[in-house]
Amino acid sequence: MLEIQGLVKRYPTGDRALRGVDLTVPEGQVMALIGPSGAGKSTLIRCVNRLVEPTEGRIELDGEDLTRLHPRSLRRARRQIGMIFQEFALVERLSVMENVLSGRLGYVGFWRSTLRRFPQADVDLAFDLLDRVGLTGFEDKRADALSGGQRQRVGIARALMQAPKLLLVDEPTASLDPKTSRQIMRLITELAQERRVATIINIHDVALAKRFVPRIVGLREGQVVFDGPPAALDAARLTDIYGDEDWDERPEVDVDASDAAEPSEVAA
């Protein structure tokens, strides 16, 4: 369904963020993209909906090459591609309902959307999605009055409003606490599977990825270095992706021990 071939991205600064990436995501598959900071994860998914212009290569969505689209057809393609952001990217001063409805902008004309006269079907879908993400009754709250977890739920509802074929998710949990992170990951993966939306999730938390996602792709310095099920991702493969580190050590124990041994920490 999504087919990426030989994708290269060079930024004007000279950074070679992607060095020939091949990746295929079948319809309805949920996959996680992991890799160290600067590996090119954000660049990769932003190339797909052309928030970043790819330098070379093809990106085909159902046979249509997205890299060659002109503005009008690019907008048509974009409305089939939902996106969820680390910093939520809600329009802060608008209500939850307006934010969710903004997912329909690609389908609704300028005046109807600007005057907030969205079709009844869209409003119904918005209410259904708000129920589904656990924000029943939040429609008139302003986005800037919500907690991080609630904002991300609005972000998820907005992306699904597009009725997308493909969902691009850039570190959905990096600004959230561990419990909320799990809830959000569960929500995204469930919804994607329910609606058979192909999904790419960029994520730093490997444990979270392994728990919720059936396929993991590892990116390092702009190249795919791992592609397989969570079970295949052992210490050796993690070293391939991230570099040397004792992957089996238990971090909790370590943190406690070093805290106790550090008197200056107590004073602070």
């Binding site: 928030l51 974009r78 939902g82 329009v91 902008l105 389908y107 597009q162």
Partner: protein, 270 residues
């Protein structure tokens, strides 16, 4: 841990001076002081005239403090109304024109050629003081408030467009990208991501510009561009300081009202 190994009492710290060399530093300070002293010494004050001036200003102030609203009332009333109308219409017209100009002058929304063109226009309209522009419009359109109206509109466009464009450039890119990613058109992105973010500043700017326009409108009469300025200068040049005082009090009152209005409106749009 290297800092902690230094002995207690040796850990002094002061910000780095701008000029590293101690002697050079003092020399620069001395030179600056000497220059200031020399400048003050060259100012040639005629103390006799200052004394006369103080005496005269006492009388003048006395007259201002006994304002005479009656003798030039009909002129002042017409003038003030003209000023208010001029500034209101100019603000509305100026702001309406400034909106598209500011979108073109925001680098994060506009392509480069449009950006350069609108920036050039803004710079042009901000270069000349209102009075100069007014003289030009008086020459073109003849005496009267229409020339003043054009002047204030012209100046408002540059002012509002510049400040608004800067606010638009400062908005959160994440929200812009999120709207673009939904497949929204350029105008929809403006309506959903830009407008909500700049609305409070836009309203504040407009009310502030109304305030400026009203104050400017009291000057433009001096060059024949309408408003209360004509009556004010006539009164002054005939030494009717009591009438002039009355007009000034009216102007101050209206500026005060605008000040409160702007505070109120700004807190209402949050």
């Amino acid at each position: 841990m290297t800092a902690a190994t230094r002995a207690e009492g040796q850990r002094r710290w002061a910000p780095r001076p701008l000029i590293a060399n101690r002697t050079a530093r003092w020399l620069v300070r001395l030179l600056v002081l000497a220059y200031l002293a020399a400048v003050v010494a060259t100012v040639d004050v005629n103390w006799v005239r200052v004394a006369e001036g103080i005496e005269r200003s006492g009388r003048l102030l006395g007259q201002f403090l006994r304002p005479d609203f009656a003798s030039r009332w009909s002129d002042s009333r017409i003038g003030i109304l003209e000023s208010v109308t001029m500034s209101l219409v100019a603000t509305v017209a100026g702001v309406l024109i400034a909106i598209p100009v500011s979108l073109g002058a925001a680098r994060n929304l506009a392509p480069l050629p449009l950006y350069l063109a609108t920036r050039a226009y803004i710079t042009l309209s901000r270069t000349f003081p209102e009075v100069i522009v007014a003289i030009v419009f008086v020459v073109m359109m003849g005496f009267g408030p229409f020339a003043g109206l054009l002047t204030l509109t012209f100046a408002s466009v540059g002012f509002v467009a510049k400040l608004l464009a800067e606010d638009i450039e400062d908005i959160d890119d994440g929200q812009l990208e999120a709207m673009r990613a939904t497949g929204a058109t350029w105008w929809q992105v403006v309506a959903f991501a830009v407008v909500p973010q700049v609305m409070p500043r836009f309203v504040g700017l407009s009310v502030y510009r109304l305030d400026i326009n009203f104050r400017e409108s009291t000057i433009l009469g001096i060059v024949g561009a309408g408003g209360v300025g004509a009556t004010l200068t006539t009164a002054m040049s005939r030494y009717d300081f009591d009438s002039a005082g009355a007009i000034l009090i009216l102007v101050i009152a209206i500026v005060l009202v605008l000040e409160y209005l702007s505070g109120y409106v700004r807190s209402a749009v949050r």
